[in-house]
Amino acid sequence: MNQVIQDVRELSELSWVSSSMTERLSASGDTTGIPYYHYRWKKKWLADYVAWPTSTEQVSTILAFASKKKIPVVPRGGGTCYYGSASPTRGGIILDTKVLDKILSINSDEMWVHVQAGIVWEVLEIKLGRQNLALRVTPQSAPASTLGGWLAIGGKAGIGTPKFGNMLDNILEMNVVRPDGTIDTVTGDDMKTFYGTSGIAGVVVSLKLKIRAKPESVDGLMFAFDSVEKACDMARWIANASLKPVYLRITDIEYEWRSQGGLPPHSKNGCFIIVTYDGTKEEVEQGLKMARDVFESAGGIDAGQSFYEKNWDDRFIIEMKLKLEVPTLSMQNFWIKPDAVPKLTEKMYKIAKKYKINSCFYVVLGPETNFRFCAFAPSDHRHWMHFMSGKSMLHHLVKEAYKLGAKLYTLGLQNTVYLEKFQPDEFRQYTDIRQQWDPTKIMNPDKLTNSNMTYRRMNLMFSMNGRIRRLTALLRVAKNILQIPEWVREGR
């Protein structure tokens, strides 16, 4: 902190850096508010500076400066992560990469685009669309998130992933700035240090992304099944077939009801599966026919084209629609094999019932028959106990998920706490990366390699919370039996 104050003059000479309260406030934070316990109340949740570098050189300048002065740097993309991947924990500089949003070159013969990492997926898609080109993979948060952002959280499941693999598979080369300010070009296996590492190995400035010609047709269908097992079986079957779908999602009835506000006919319980194919007309027709045959033979009921289209149109920001019904969305994403999904679902409902949370989930297909399982704990953060119940429910779910062999999908600030206990190999890997490239530990501190919160403390906190909540529930019952008169409650 003191150091930062000393360096004020040096930094504020730069026109693309701001220290105004408004900018700092709006650039520190995420889609959700992060509970205080992740900061351990001593740490600074507010950045001291916000920088908008417009060139690789400027990025290099700021990183060199920061590593010299040991000021923490938090690279920031769209800020759409739910787990605080781009939240400062020790103040420092926010490196807003969204100004780096130019397309440098498009090569439609070799089918790649060289683009700066701060461009928003949707903008890139639109710009490519003008030249009749299309992206191979896009995340579900495409309207707001940037290329660099999805790379840093390790994007695996989105639109196009079952067919074209994860984001790393679609990158040919990237230009990076190392934490010490050196500019470098990375290809091949070296790129892995930048994939899913929340920027601890450096800032990706631009990258060469594989693209494809705009598909001739896109179509899909939606089916209702009466059990999650069946739907998962079907999904696995579809994913293993030679003709891969471009998007596949399983949703439960609660989720569908909350997000679409209506259900297809003949679907009183169970879950839905939506699958989309694209490519040439024949491919799509073949894919649809195959999917329809398989679904029908398994006893699925066609939900109708209109419901499919509704869901497909909402593919990007669908979870936000849940906000219509609840004020706060807490969620947890898992990377999971299809056979574990029904078990995890069962667990989820059981835990949710215990915590009195109306939980729901959706599942999106990634590459190699892996799923991203997204569990929601809708709550109300204005009622602290309610909010904490949602969080504890998710905490329990994480423990159960690891038992079933699943892993956390995004790490960020909030999930780093589980890393050391449940994924020790990966933790070691990240520590090595940090050691090798960022010995001064300035890049995105408290992510992946170090956690503010210890697992033991967290566990204790949540189990206490459960007890207290159950106690208050009991008290509430008692209160209902012996009703406290209105005038006593109002304190007259």
């Binding site: 309260m21 406030l25 928003v120 309207p143 629609k321």
Partner: protein
């Protein structure tokens, strides 16, 4: 529900809680395109507001600037998956900033003072309001049709009311106008939060003396009562800003006093579209050019009138209407609304020039709009950057093609 209290704000947090900061509204936002920082887009402002309320920060100039750098174009609401009423929130917030004396931003406060003194935001002499009315224009005092001219038409762009009245006369309608009794529709005041603003007068010794309070409700009520006493049942508008304010804001202010508005409102493009549908609109000349239509935010996204102007344009013989890449509900903002042009003049022009770029990309030679402010701002941009594109409004086109000028 618990409310957050601070010394300065008393803002209902239930409204901002809806926003999940998913940032879907970011890259289309008019002010984000211009300023490029996270504080300068819809969701960012809400996050900022939430921080200011929850952490009880004192309002500083940067915050006021961020709040006023919004053109209230509602692109964010359109993109929002759950349609958080962002513009409503920002107008409410501006109202509160004015209440605590921190707003409005920059010179916007002068508009309120002028409305208080002269009943228009342009500092025009109220007795010259109806000076555009030449003897060849026919107006009556007992017609059921009324025409709300608006301040921009009365003081800045006199050709617009002239064109509109000529157009109405062409269809045999002799509208009533309020003339000098017409007051501002209060759109600029409501947009910038000056719903109740104290008006001060500088005295010789430099101290300020309270002269009075500009109360939007009273000004609006004056207009409504005037129209009511003259028996007007249908009101025509040539200005999209006035139309939006009359349709959406006047009822709010009028309800406590008198219930439902005593007249129906119609924008001129709606009026023309209906004439066309009934077969009463016969164009004398054609317009053999490629044109594109820009949806004014206050007419399109705010009130939902998108098809009527297009129908009118398509009915012109020889015309070729091409759509810009972003049209209808996704239409870009011209940058003139919500006090943006008044507060951030240069930025507003660069927003407009980006929209013109988009229009030129379509190959159109004429950019048609149906809002006075859009036209004004586009004209400024054309003048500044020497674009080769004509900017016209629907009523201009009507006058030209019907040989009424």
């Amino acid at each position: 529900m618990r409310r957050f209290f601070t010394s300065e704000f008393d803002f209902d947090p239930d409204k901002i809680v809806m926003c999940s900061n998913c940032s879907t509204c970011r890259w289309t936002c008019t002010s984000y395109e211009e300023f490029g920082t996270e504080a300068m887009f819809a969701g960012g402002r809400l996050r900022l507001l939430r921080s200011y309320i929850e952490r009880k920060l004192t309002v500083d100039d940067d915050f006021v600037k961020a709040v006023y750098a919004c053109s209230t174009c509602e692109q964010c609401v359109e993109r929002c998956p759950i349609k958080v009423p962002y513009v409503e929130i920002i107008e409410d917030l501006r109202k509160r900033l004015v209440e605590i004396g921190k707003g409005p931003y920059g010179g916007l406060g002068a508009m309120g003072d002028r409305v208080f003194h002269k009943h228009n935001p342009y500092d025009g002499d109220p007795t010259t309001r109806a000076d555009w009315l030449t003897p060849d224009l026919k107006v009556s005092d007992d017609s059921k049709w009324g025409y709300f001219v608006g301040c921009t038409g009365s003081f800045r762009r006199m050709e617009i009311p002239v064109a509109t009245v000529k157009m109405l006369n062409h269809f045999g309608i002799e509208p009533q106008i309020l003339g000098n009794e017409e007051y501002c529709c209060c759109s600029p005041l409501i947009r910038t939060g000056q719903v109740k603003k104290p008006v001060y007068k500088k005295q010789e010794d430099g101290s300020k003396k309270l002269v009075g309070v500009v109360d939007v409700g009273e000004v609006i009520n004056h207009n409504i009562e005037e129209f009511k006493s003259r028996g007007v049942e249908h009101l025509i508008y040539s200005c999209s800003g006035c139309y939006r304010t009359t349709t959406l804001d006047w009822p709010k202010f009028y309800r406590e006093r008198g219930g439902i508005l005593p007249f129906s409102t119609q924008h001129l493009s709606q009026f023309l579209a209906l004439r066309f549908k009934k077969g009463e609109l016969k164009w004398k000349n054609g317009y053999n050019e490629k044109v594109t239509y820009h949806d004014p935010c206050h007419l399109g996204r705010h009130v939902g009138i998108l098809d009527a102007p297009r129908e009118v344009i398509k009915s012109i013989p020889g015309i070729e209407l091409v759509e810009m890449e972003r049209n209808r509900y996704d239409s870009k903002c011209c940058g003139a609304g919500g006090g943006f042009k008044a507060g951030f003049g240069d930025e507003a022009i660069s927003v407009a020039s980006r929209r013109i770029d988009e229009a030129i990309e379509t190959g159109a030679t004429t950019l048609i709009s149906s809002c006075v402010f859009c036209k004004l701002n586009f004209m400024d941009a054309v003048k500044k950057h020497d674009y080769k594109i004509k900017v016209v409004n629907i009523e201009d086109l009507f006058i030209d093609l019907m040989e009424l000028s």
